[in-house]
Symmetry: D3
Subunit: 250 residues, 6 copies
């Protein structure tokens, strides 16, 4: 089984770290294929950036999905997820959505803990987008923006633990999600200090991608009635233009 | 990995069919351990029955969960799910919840198709319990109650296909869930006639149980802050009484 | 008129105190018949316990409801309420539901004040179960669990008053519900110190049981279309098995 | 105990019929005091009319509530209910709200059946105002407006039965509310032909008014923190102006 | 174009200030016609007062709307808005509704800042009435009631700025609405100290009234199917009685 | 005043028709500047297409917004609206959002009528995105997809009228929105045959853009606290990259 790990950010170091975690989780069940956005932003943090990066991720999917069994959009916030699922005929997993749905099977209420207040609004959007905002106990972040995304998992360890414990104690969280690619891989280390299951979104996305690919074939998705109608386009990448032009006959 | 497939109904034939499907899906990833309720109802169809069967399922879990890695409550409707998850220290998967969350990663809106109008209310409750009622496109069933639960998958095939196609066409369902243990195993056969991914709840529950067990250990769940306080009891099964008496120190 | 006061806890002292209050409220309008759970928990405080105690309450109803005009499930949290109402042909009143609906006629928003943080989650569930969570202003409890349930009404008086006043001032509560059987009978004494109507759930349940019994007969409830279908069972108490086997013809 | 039955419509025949039913239900528990709006509309059917009639009902309450123990606003739709409850120190019961909350204790989902499509919007508003729209299964009415309000209970009997049966069968109603003063008194006669408990709003309002008055005194309501601040006014009835000028000190 | 600025309060000084602002905003696009309630309250602050003042506003509309192109109900809280819109054939703008909908086009989440805690409940109702409570970030007010409504805009300047900044920082408000007629005209002065667009409700209501009147004629509104049926009445002002008696033929 | 009318579709004929309508509505109040997407789709009809076109619209805004007072994203469905509003310092109006909010001031419930069932899902998303789904009475469309977008306003006239009348009669719509650029300009002609105000989204967007620009300056929007932080990027258009790199200092 071949699973695309599609990083819609342009930072390869993040792709590498996430791919390593994903491959560890997948073991021999699947081969993880890392992809990094060829243009866009080093780290997406706003809806504007998500809109643009989501569109770029379609080009990446159009170029690489033909022989994949599933794809992970590997940015917490799931840029472009709904459209990708609509137009591509393999299971598409969003890192935030997978973490939230996974968390929902471990306990009633979940909180998201992340490294910067800048992410707060966008991450809260995720719960609403999934539809589980009734079980969402909030986002907890440091008060100040942490500039060095690459060092977040090193320098913020004790603060993240404290935020997670507060979410359990004061917000009634049964499960903690560590939001944001920069915190990928941190959960195992932090788990022993947090009195609630800690979900690593990239790990959750990996097991969910495998689960979906196991049960749902490309052929089944290709014959969905709810796919968009074929559409010609101008000025897009050739691959993407082709995918959208095929679409589905009414 | 060892996964309990706990049928809260007393009908062993259903346990057998579901275990077979689950073991097929699990392959070498997990050993499925079938359990059938020692008392209760041949087939649960009301909230009263779910209340009673849920309580019985705790006795089954208390007796058999000590060396298991996860458990599936194998009745669509998930009797006792919330309490089981609260009190037992292994991942607990509900057949309806797993199907619904799995479906939510395949498309935006899901419908449940089942074999009897009697199930309608209870199944609609499931979506609300999960919290995804905003994405729930309804339950479709035959108009008349189908008495012979054991023959539902044989005699209702064409009607189930029609109901599923109607859900896609008229209710806007992107994904179809075949609800109810009696329809277990039918999805693969029906899929080619239904223009939407068809989710088999027992298959979804199996992949989800494996996913959860892979990432969350008994030790982590044992140290949750949100567990109930220990409680003495009288007149319950010895095993269950023991489990509840241990609980968690405040 | 004969009204069952069914305590799903095993603590007879609680049954006695609640029955006394209920009989005081009922006066000559109804005879209160106290019943204490023959097995289970001294005091229910989790969903697991509620699942089990709810099932036990059906055995009690099956044995005693044949000549009653209504029944009160006398534990705040209403274990088994939905199923009991579904399967028994007399009005069934839940202590939490009655308190909440009663409160809703006295003011717009209500808060629940109780004696232990352990109850917080389960009591919040009640408002959602009733459907009035849009008017629910929250649960206020002491920070620490109060172990001696039997002394709660004696030792926590001043703290309860403070919590209620905070709910009025900070949460915008128009009405205060004193949640939990251990606080039964306290409302009259506390009322003068709290600037909002204080609802005693057992008193509310009593007036509501009388109200329902006055207007709705057993015969009317027996002919409901929405009753579950009859169902055979094994291993349940003989009385309960009989009730469920009669059910209603399709 | 003295309960005002305040008809915000100007049709005395409706007041008489409703008072008779209410006195029958109250028996020796309470004396029903009928009041008819001195000006306004023969029969309220729009939000404009409800706004005006609600204001008139405050004049009636200001003049007559000083020695009453509770009041019923006897128009389905509850004109002026929220303000009346805010400003007057006796329990105020709305006919629609009481019917809805009463119904909520008899079953999970309720429908409203009434005599004219003109009422549809306003009656659906009621469920939302109460906050129980999640349990509201809809309004069913004849297709055509029935002009002669005074004859509705005579001429529409068989149509009302059919609408109620449809609500049970197709909308999943567990309880039927006969909405609108013109159908007052009809429920007992229709009950035998409808397979769900039928709630007469005026009967429900009467038992609820008695219940509330039994447990909540004028003194308690007078000391609520959430009362409006005193306010001077010009051009209102002297009684009403007095009530509002007293209010509550900040 | 002629726009009624209908103040449902009796304080002419407020009418004057609001009319001046409205005329400034309207410039040569419209003539603002100020109207002050002939009876009622100097300043509405409760639902009781809103019920009464709403009814009075219908008399004002009935007398003055015949040659107007739109009307503004110039009290934050929009007393009588739904009925006015239902029964009168010109666009009717509520000051709170217009401010909220205007704010919704400037940012995702809005807060209301006002001069007294007494307004809190009623103003929160507005967001719910409009239907945008999902985007409502709360009401912020001084802790104490400010008695001198006429001096609020002078004496509370710095406190209002602080409350607005807190709403931005702590509640995540993208837009600030200055609620309540006494703060009319303050927004321009405060804007430079508040890091979010500040909406003046009377200015918003004015531009919205002009917008609506530009695109929707009296003739179109007169032929709506959803108008109430004509209704005779007694004891109302002659003008209002006439308007309601004309209504719309079924 | 200068208002950009930004068509995210590539069909210039649609831009021309919409600009003409907008300029007619604006009169001398504003100069409408038409812009057509330089690449993308002739007519957006899916979320995938909206994701891509939204990103393209940011390039258009980056290039042309520097001397504009407001911009209209002129595709019903509002591709990219949230991000555009977040990152650009002029009021941004979405055609669907403006139509919905405008409709909300004309009546309680609104329906969308459009030319193709393909649009149904995306248009229903709009009401949810705005937050007014509680007042949304549904989308009505012909059963079959109408291929020739350019002739929709000519060939579908009678069908659109019928759909609108059905929405009023059966769905309880008080206001009708004609959704989709291909129906732009049709409302005035159809209005006389539809018993509810008909909203033309491009007209509504125009009056709303003028309203917003009148009251909110570029300077105010530039100093918002809730703007995204500045962000470097690679591979985007130079203009857009510049806009995002400026952003706002933390």
């Amino acid at each position: 089984m071949k699973i695309l790990l599609l990083n819609p950010n342009t930072t390869e170091a993040l792709t590498d770290r996430m791919s390593e975690i994903a491959q560890d989780v997948a073991g021999s069940d699947a081969q993880i294929v890392p992809l990094t956005a060829p243009r866009g932003f080093p780290y997406i943090a706003s809806r504007t950036e998500a809109q643009i990066a989501g569109a770029i991720s379609y080009e990446m999917l159009a170029e690489h999905s033909h022989d994949a069994d599933a794809a992970i959009i590997a940015a917490f916030g799931d840029p472009g997820l709904i459209g990708a699922r609509e137009s591509f005929d393999i299971p598409i997993v969003g890192m935030a959505e997978a973490a939230i749905l996974h968390a929902a099977m471990l306990g009633e209420r979940f909180s998201i803990v992340t490294f910067s207040p800048v992410m707060r609004r966008w991450y809260a959007d995720c719960s609403r987008a999934v539809g589980l905002d009734g079980r969402f106990a909030g986002v907890r972040t440091p008060d100040e923006h942490f500039q060095d995304v690459g060092r977040a998992h090193l320098d913020l360890r004790s603060e993240i633990v404290k935020l997670a414990c507060d979410a359990v104690k004061h917000d009634g969280a049964d499960v903690i999600i560590l939001g944001g690619a920069p915190l990928a891989g941190l959960s195992q280390d932090l788990q022993k200090d947090i009195p609630a299951p800690v979900v690593d979104p990239i790990a959750a996305a990996t097991v969910q991608a495998i689960s979906l690919a196991k049960l749902t074939s490309r052929q089944v998705l290709a014959s969905r009635a709810s796919k968009p109608i074929p559409k010609s386009s101008t000025g897009l990448s050739a691959c993407l233009s082709d995918v959208l032009a095929r679409g589905q006959a009414l």
